[in-house]
Amino acid sequence: MTMFLELKEKLKAIYAEYGTYILPAAKFLLALAVFLSINHTLDYVPALGSIFVVLILLILSLICAIIPLNGTVFFAMVLILLQCTGVHILAAAFGAVLFLTLWVLYLRFASGEALALVLTPLAFALNIPAAVPIAFGLVGGPISALSMACGLIVYYFMNLIQKRIAVLAAGEDLNMLDLVTALAEGIFQNEELLVAVICCTVTLLVVYLIRSLEADYAWEVSVVAGGIAYLVIQLAGALFLEVPVSVPVLVIGTVGACLICYVLQLFVFGGDYSRSKMFRFQDDEYYYYVKAVPKMAVANPDRTIKNISEEELKEEVPEETEVLKNYEISRKEPEEQTVEIPRDIIQARGESPEQDMEPAFDRIVEEVSAEDAAEKIETEPEMDLEMNEDYFESVDFEEKLTDTLKNL
C-alpha cells in the first residue's frame, strides 16, 4: 500500500514537471496500440501490413498525439474499413453505415467520452474486458456506458469480420444477399454482443452506485462487487443464452481487471477510512451530517542520507574548536577595551581572584563603569574650579608684567 502511495506521489511530481510531454506520449502510445491491434485482428489487406504502412501508422499515431482523442477514433475506424475492403467491399460498406449510425445516434453528443470507446476493444483484445466497466464506474459516470456499448459494437464487428465474414467471403459460391444478412445478423442478433453490453453496463452501474455511497471502503468494495457482477452475468449468459465462454480465461481476466482497478482507485481516490470522522452540526435551516475521510498520504521519499563515519567526525572537531575560539575572541574584545579591574576592588567585594571570574567580571565591569561615570558627572565642574584657583595663585603677575614691559 505504502509503495503505491509513494509511487502516486512520485507520479504526481513527474506529471507536474513533464505533463506537457507525458500526455501526448500517452496518446501516441494509445493510438499506436489501437492501430496495431486493429492490424493484428483484421489482417486482410497485405499492403496495410507492410513496413511502409507501419511507418504510416507511426506517423498517424504521432498526429493523434497532438489532436483530440476523437481523431484516434476516426483514424481507427478508417483503418477498420480499409481492412474490411480486403474481405469484401460490402463488408466495408456495411461497416461505414454502422459507424455512421453510431456517430449520428450517439457519438455526436458525447465527444468527450471517446476514451471508453477506444479502450473497450483494446481491453477485450487483452482478455481483461472487465477492466473498462469497472474503471469507468470508478472515474466516470453512467453516460460512459453508452460509449462503452459503441466500443463493444466496434469490437464485435471486427470479430464478426474475422471469424465469419472472412470465411464466407473466401467461399466460391458467394451470395451477396447471404453476406449482407450475415453482417446484419452478426450485429443485431448476436447474443454474445448482447450479453457483453448488458454485462458491461450493469457492472459499470454497480461500481458507480457502490462507490457513490458514503459507506466505509466503498471504493474497494465497488471494485470487488463489479468483478463479481461481471463474472455472474457472463456465466448466466453462458448458461441461459449459450454464449461460448472460457471459464478460466474469464476468471483470470476478471481477477486481473479487479487488481488493475484496485490500483487505479488508490490513485484516483485513496481515502484513509481508519481515520474517518463523523460530524453533526446545524444552522438555522439545516442539520448537517458530515463524514470526513482523510486522504492517505506518505511523506515524500526523496531524502538524502549522509553517512557520518568516524574519520569525518574527527575532521569536524577542529571546526568546532575554531568556532569556540572565535567565540572566545568575540567575548574578549570588549574586555580589552575596558579598564583593568584592580585585584583589590575584587578582594574588597569579598571575591577571591582565584574564583571563576567570568560571571563576576561582567557584573563588576558594569558596576565600576557605572560608578565611574556617575563620579565623573558629579566631580567634573568642581575640579575645573579648583584648577582655576590653583592656577591663579601660582602665577606671579608682577614678574610677568615686568618681562612684557622689558620686551616692549
Binding site: 456495411f94 453505415v97 449520428v104
Partner: protein, 140 residues
C-alpha cells in the same frame, strides 16, 4: 519589472481563448433562441440521415422477411410505423438537442462574460500602471 498577477491573468485569458473560447465566443454571439433553433435545424438533418441509416440496417437484417412478405404485407401500416418511428426519433433527439444546446449556451455566456471581465480588469491594470509611470516622469 514583471507583474506576476498580470501574467497569471493573461495566461488564463490566453488559455481560454485558445481552448474553449473559440467555440464559446461564437455561441455567445447568438441570441439563445436563435442558437437553439440552429441546433434543432442541424439535428433535424442529422437525425433524418441517422433514421434512414437505422432503417437501412434494419432492412438488411430483415431482408428475407421483407422479400417474402412484400405481397401480403399491409404497406400502409408499415409506412405508418416507419413514420411513427421517425417522429418518435425526431422528438427524442430534438429534446436531447434542446437540453444540450441550452446547457452549452448558458456555459458559453457565463464563460465569455468572465473572459470579458478579465479583459476589463487587465485593461484597468494597464491604465493604472500607465498613470503611475506618467506620475513618476512628471511628479508635478
Amino acid at each position: 519589472m514583471l507583474n506576476k498577477e498580470r501574467i497569471r491573468q493573461m495566461t488564463a485569458l490566453a488559455r481560454y481563448e485558445q481552448e474553449d473560447g473559440k467555440k464559446e465566443m461564437k455561441i455567445s454571439r447568438y441570441y439563445r433562441n436563435d442558437y437553439i433553433g440552429l441546433m434543432l435545424l442541424k439535428n433535424f438533418f442529422i437525425t433524418t440521415i441517422g433514421y434512414f441509416l437505422v432503417i437501412g440496417l434494419w432492412a438488411l437484417w430483415k431482408l428475407d422477411w421483407l422479400m417474402d412478405g412484400m405481397d401480403s404485407m399491409n404497406l400502409w401500416l408499415l409506412l405508418f410505423l416507419l413514420a411513427a418511428v421517425y417522429v418518435g426519433m425526431l422528438i427524442v433527439y430534438s429534446a436531447i438537442t434542446i437540453y444540450i444546446a441550452m446547457k452549452k449556451y448558458k456555459r458559453a455566456v457565463k464563460n465569455t462574460k468572465k473572459y470579458t471581465q478579465g479583459l476589463g480588469t487587465l485593461l484597468k491594470e494597464y491604465g493604472r500602471e500607465e498613470r503611475r509611470q506618467r506620475n513618476r516622469r512628471n511628479p508635478e
